[in-house]
């Protein structure tokens, strides 16, 4: 409606307004099913206004991903308080799966669809920040478990271990999100699948009980 000056803060607020509007639409529908025009309408602007704040749809999606990565890290933060490191690692897996399965369209956008690769330099998030970087959170837990001597003696590479745990949980979650309606497979309960994956990970990575 009325134009003229706009503080940097106001511009930032409008940016996050757009991002949040889009994220809300993604709750019920996939990324491709939500148009720029619809996002704009939701906040009472015309579609072209979005291009004053984001270079293109892909840039908007990247910004939304950043917000969702932060949301994931935030939702995992309290779990880091768990005392026992092995139990903490277990709880991280549960928390990760809970996020994935309660925000399937967001998870799909974050981890399952082709996206221009994330450059940490251009991200609004801080790498290796325990409040913002979910991968760092996982790696920290892995390091703790390692420091406490719980891993098999031949396992030393924290990245490799973290990426394997991630892959295990991601495998279960992404198959659930993308394939659970597929009638070809007689799917077991998702909770059973999650639990067995966690058991397998633990047994596969940790030393024998002493």
């Amino acid at each position: 409606m009325p134009p003229k000056p706009k503080t940097e803060l106001e511009r930032q607020q409008l940016r996050t307004l757009i991002i949040d509007a889009a994220r809300e639409l993604f709750i019920s529908r996939g990324v491709d099913a939500v148009t720029m025009r619809e996002i704009a309408k939701r906040i009472g602007y015309s579609a072209t206004s979005i291009y004053l704040h984001f270079a293109d749809k892909e840039a908007l999606l990247r910004a939304i991903c950043d917000t969702d990565f932060l949301a994931l890290a935030t939702s995992l933060k309290s779990i880091l308080q768990t005392q026992n490191p092995v139990e903490r690692m277990h709880a991280m897996g549960r928390g990760y799966a809970a996020f994935a399965l309660t925000h399937p369209n967001h998870y799909r956008m974050m981890f399952m669809t082709e996206r221009t690769p994330c450059d940490p330099a251009e991200s609004s998030l801080q790498q290796n920040n325990a409040e913002q970087d979910a991968y760092f959170q996982l790696k920290s837990v892995v390091n703790d478990v390692h420091a406490a001597g719980y891993f098999r003696v031949d396992l030393h590479d924290a990245d490799l271990i973290a990426q394997t745990i991630w892959a295990g949980m991601h495998g279960v979650c992404s198959l659930q999100i993308n394939m659970s309606e597929d009638k070809w497979i007689e799917w077991s309960n998702i909770s059973d699948r999650l639990q067995l994956m966690q058991e397998v990970m633990m047994r596969g990575l940790l030393r024998e009980k002493i």
Copy 2:
């Protein structure tokens, strides 16, 4: 150019001609980046002709998926000859990953992108056919390992075990396909990740060595 009668065989040949043209385009580019017009041009027809054989693009993609599912099962077939059941299960994992990573765009279409759910009744493939159904192949191997008494004693559900193994390999492969360019993560070697996942699966699912 010249119309008139067309045998059922000719219609089927044209169908597979379209499918194969599209599959070839998918080798180098993602599904969304390949248009109906381009597929048609490749076989010298106009785009609308495709609609005489497939209801819409989604139907064509489903047919392509069927072809790719068959290609996967075919590529795994020889592995089923492996004598030792545990080694056979291990080799199946390697073969699956090899398929995924050498046909990333096809794999993405098959297992990572939203697709109208597969109804076995409408598929061109035969469920529980060892030459056509890759999931059945995996489940068979799982059953063999179970029959030979190699699994942990508390593991009985072949579907659950198969789906967990699948999820483990799918997790590594799909993260590789979708996220390996992401600079946020310091990725370990894909071969190391595949191998550790297999080790973890084995140690997690199999009984202790006797």
